[in-house]
């Protein structure tokens, strides 16, 4: 089927030009080209699910093993900042979805505006995250670099009852290691996403997606929403579920 498509295609491509210029020669139709790109993007996202999934599995197992240390560690996170960041990220997913819609509608100005808003919200998320990391540093909760189990042996401000045996208190390092690994990997994905978005804005201003095809915007949208989904799970697991123990 494919070889026939390739064989029959050049006549149309170089003859009458009855297909859009962005249709590659090895695809029969624009729809097939779009479908193929989307399929490839989803396969990439599945590898990403497995990548983050490994860290989620580690988190679940260690939380089970060193439960008191994980509860005490979780108490040190700010629910307010976590909630604000979740809202910011959901807003950025919405602006990205509207960007995809603008590209479909071939509205260049709107597309550029929604992409810029997505960059802004993504940057705000990273800013709040950086502030949280800074607080961890000041409280000596950074394993390997600047860590003290004091808050977990003697109790801490707001949680005076978090008094663990010294060996269990040390295990809060496992919690913070996973916290930094998971939120750090998530933040790295955000940084990569924002870098790609900057390129997309430049190309969108040149009309690349509103005159050509918008599969790139659509597939980047998939990536951005995936990063949002990772956070949707990180937020309750790291911040919320140990509130009461």
């Amino acid at each position: 089927m494919d070889s026939q498509a390739i064989a029959t295609h050049p006549e149309h491509a170089h003859g009458e030009h009855e297909h859009p210029p962005y249709l590659r020669h090895h695809f029969a139709t624009v729809e097939q080209q779009r479908e193929t790109a989307s399929f490839g993007m989803w396969l990439f996202l599945l590898t990403e699910i497995m990548f983050f999934g490994g860290m989620f599995a580690a988190y679940l197992i260690y939380r089970n093993w060193y439960y008191p240390a994980f509860v005490a560690g979780s108490h040190q996170l700010s629910i307010l900042l976590g909630t604000v960041n979740t809202a910011v990220l959901i807003c950025s997913s919405f602006t990205m979805a509207m960007g995809v819609y603008s590209a479909e509608m071939k509205r260049k100005g709107a597309l550029v505006m929604w992409l810029l808003l997505t960059i802004l919200l993504g940057t705000v998320f990273l800013g709040i995250k950086a502030d949280e990391y800074h607080e961890k540093w000041e409280k000596h909760h950074v394993p390997g670099l600047n860590f003290s189990a004091n808050d977990f042996v003697n109790g801490s401000k707001g949680y005076p009852d978090d008094k663990l045996a010294p060996d269990m208190a040390q295990k809060s390092q496992v919690y913070f290691s996973l916290y930094f690994a998971m939120t750090g990997m998530h933040a790295l994905h955000m940084i990569i996403g924002i870098s790609i978005l900057i390129v997309l804005v430049i190309r969108a201003r040149q009309g690349a997606y509103t005159e050509g095809h918008m599969t790139t915007i659509e597939n980047f949208g998939l990536y951005w929403h995936f990063v949002d989904i990772v956070w949707i799970f990180l937020f309750p697991l790291l911040y919320l579920i140990s509130r009461h123990q």
Partner: protein, 106 residues
Amino acid sequence: MSAPNEPASDHVHTIVSPTVYAVIFGLLLLCTALTVGASYLEMGIFNPIVALGIAVFKAVIVVLFFMHVKYSSKLTKLTVAAGFFTFIVLITMTLTDYLSRAWGRW
């Protein structure tokens, strides 16, 4: 494949409207408020269950509407479903292993 303009599949590309996006956006914010509120309630072992339940619901509506899977071809739907199924199998097997090795010794 006779004519190049013949559709490659039975699937017709759908453009999702801003209204749908806005409704999903509102639902996601509502669920975020719900999950934060629920974390302040004393529910024992149900705290993580409720939190993860809400997270799964949020993830599903993001996948279906923001990521267009509801409007996608059968190939895309199958790919996504196979991916999540494999992920759940791997997580279940791993956790089953860790749980059963120390059986009776916790």
